[in-house]
């Protein structure tokens, strides 16, 4: 009989401490340093440019814009929902996000029974662009007045030269 492989190690293992981590009883060990886990979305930084949606391969995020009820008429409240069950955690969205609003945390414990457990929802309040001081009519009127003034000035200059 050839030397039985691993017999020595098996018998010595009996007396060594098992290497198992006591997870379900104890708490889960931390993941490696920059582990790409669950997405964290910071609504304040996001400028709703849509780069993340365009660059996401499984298109796991959806953006819904609704007028903000409290604010001025132009305000929008955009809800970002990242569906963790269809995300590949490639981190492209985090890289392409100009404002670094999306970061991938190292939380890997993503188990759940309903689909809602896997949705990461973030809200972005997008102010309406500042209203121009003048309304378009006023602008037109001001432009006309400027035009008229410029013509009067030229006429006066021509008259002066003519003299």
């Amino acid at each position: 009989m050839a030397k039985i492989p691993y017999l020595g190690t098996a018998l010595t293992n009996l007396f060594r401490k098992p290497v198992t981590i006591d997870f379900p009883a104890g708490e889960a060990p931390k993941a490696q340093p920059n582990y790409r886990g669950r997405i964290a979305f910071d609504g304040t930084k996001c400028i709703n440019c849509g780069m993340c949606e365009r660059v996401c391969a499984p298109s796991c995020m959806t953006r819904v814009a609704k007028p903000l009820e409290g604010g001025e008429p132009g305000d929008q409240e955009i809800t970002f929902t990242f569906d963790m069950t269809s995300c590949t955690f490639c981190g492209m969205c985090a890289d392409f996000c100009a404002k670094k609003a999306i970061t991938l945390t190292d939380d890997y414990m993503m188990t759940g029974t309903q689909p809602e457990d896997f949705l990461v929802v973030g809200k972005v309040i997008k102010k309406a662009p500042p209203k121009p001081k003048f309304t378009p009519e006023q602008l037109a009127a001001m432009k006309a007045a400027a035009e008229a003034k410029k013509k009067a000035a030229e006429a006066a200059k021509a008259a002066a030269e003519g003299k």
Binding site: I4, P5, A10, L11, L14, R16, K17, P18, T20
Partner: protein, 316 residues
């Protein structure tokens, strides 16, 4: 009348039914923990076999359409009963539940009956995986039956001093008189042969060619679920206890004066035998192929058994 009550108590409690069930579950649990520890992992709780069996009892039993229903449901029950009755014959010290003067032949046949019920049950289940599984079980039976018989003949012949005896009581008495047979160097090859036979008889990991999960999807038990599965799993555990008990009866029958010490020694030696014969091969080697099992048993193991048979025959 007291004798009758004594024998009924023997059967029901001590070396009999209750002790067998508890011992087999604990033994199976210890075996799984030891294998886990040898792979440096924590391993399941010791009562895991009990949870497995109870869980299987709770699950729904599906009888496939192509199966022959009566045989399909009856075979596991007969298998479990035959193995439990075998356990009655094993002596603890010198006390055994049932005592006849040809124990070994009855044990040999009841173990064969257990394997046959496994085969007939899987044949009745009508699944091709079971068909392949039962032929592997038969090959395993052919391979381990020969050395098992030779070891029994050897021990019977040594303890019979003249007329061969098949009764475990006489063997126990002989060992009480001049020390457990394991110390007798002539019988070492026979002990080694029996240690090799035990895993194949029980269907333990390296030799479980009939229930190979990876190759033939649980082979013999492919179609079993719920209660019959619970019986087969319980049969597996009890067989593990019976075989290690048989080894202790044949080679390690240490009889001190009082009964409690006997029980303790018996349990420790059973655990030891299970560790050496079933846990270590399980943790160390991978599963054998079918013809490797056959070739291994008919060359190496039968060689050991024949060696000690001839040595004993010459009159050493």
């Amino acid at each position: 009348m007291i004798g009758f009550i004594q024998s009924v108590l023997n059967i029901l409690l001590l070396p009999g039914l209750a002790f067998t069930l508890i011992a087999s579950i604990l033994l199976a649990g210890i075996d799984r923990v030891l294998v886990a520890r040898m792979q440096r992992r924590v391993g399941p709780p010791v009562l895991q076999p009990l949870y497995d069996v109870l869980k299987c009892l709770g699950k729904e039993t599906i009888v496939p359409r192509k199966a022959n229903e009566k045989v399909f449901l009856l075979a596991p029950a007969v298998g479990l009963i035959s193995v439990l009755v075998t356990a009655m014959f094993l002596p603890i010290g010198n006390v055994s539940a049932i005592r006849t003067n040809a124990d070994m032949i009855v044990i040999l046949y009841l173990l064969t009956l257990a394997s046959v019920t496994l085969i007939v049950g899987s044949a009745a289940s009508g699944s091709p995986f079971a068909g392949v599984g039962l032929s592997r079980e038969m090959v395993a039976m052919i391979s381990y039956e020969l050395p098992l018989v030779m070891v029994m003949l050897t021990v019977g012949f040594v303890c019979g001093n003249g007329l061969a005896t098949f009764s475990l009581a006489k063997i126990g008495a002989y060992q009480a008189a001049n020390g457990p047979l394991l110390l007798n160097p002539v019988l070492w090859p026979a002990a080694i042969a029996l240690l090799f036979v035990i895993p194949c008889e029980v269907g333990q990991q390296p030799f479980d060619i009939d229930e190979a999960e990876t190759e033939i999807c649980e082979g013999v038990l492919a179609e079993y679920s719920g209660k019959p599965l619970a019986q087969f799993k319980m049969m597996h555990n009890v067989k593990m206890y019976v075989m290690s008990g048989l080894f202790c009866a044949l080679f390690l029958n240490i009889q001190t004066g009082f009964f409690l010490a006997d029980i303790l020694i018996y349990c420790v030696s059973c655990v030891l035998v299970t560790f050496v014969s079933m846990s270590v091969p399980h943790a160390v080697t991978a599963r054998f192929r079918v013809e490797q099992v056959f070739k291994f048993y008919w060359t190496v193991v039968t060689g050991c058994a024949a060696l000690s048979l001839i040595l004993v025959w010459i009159g050493l």
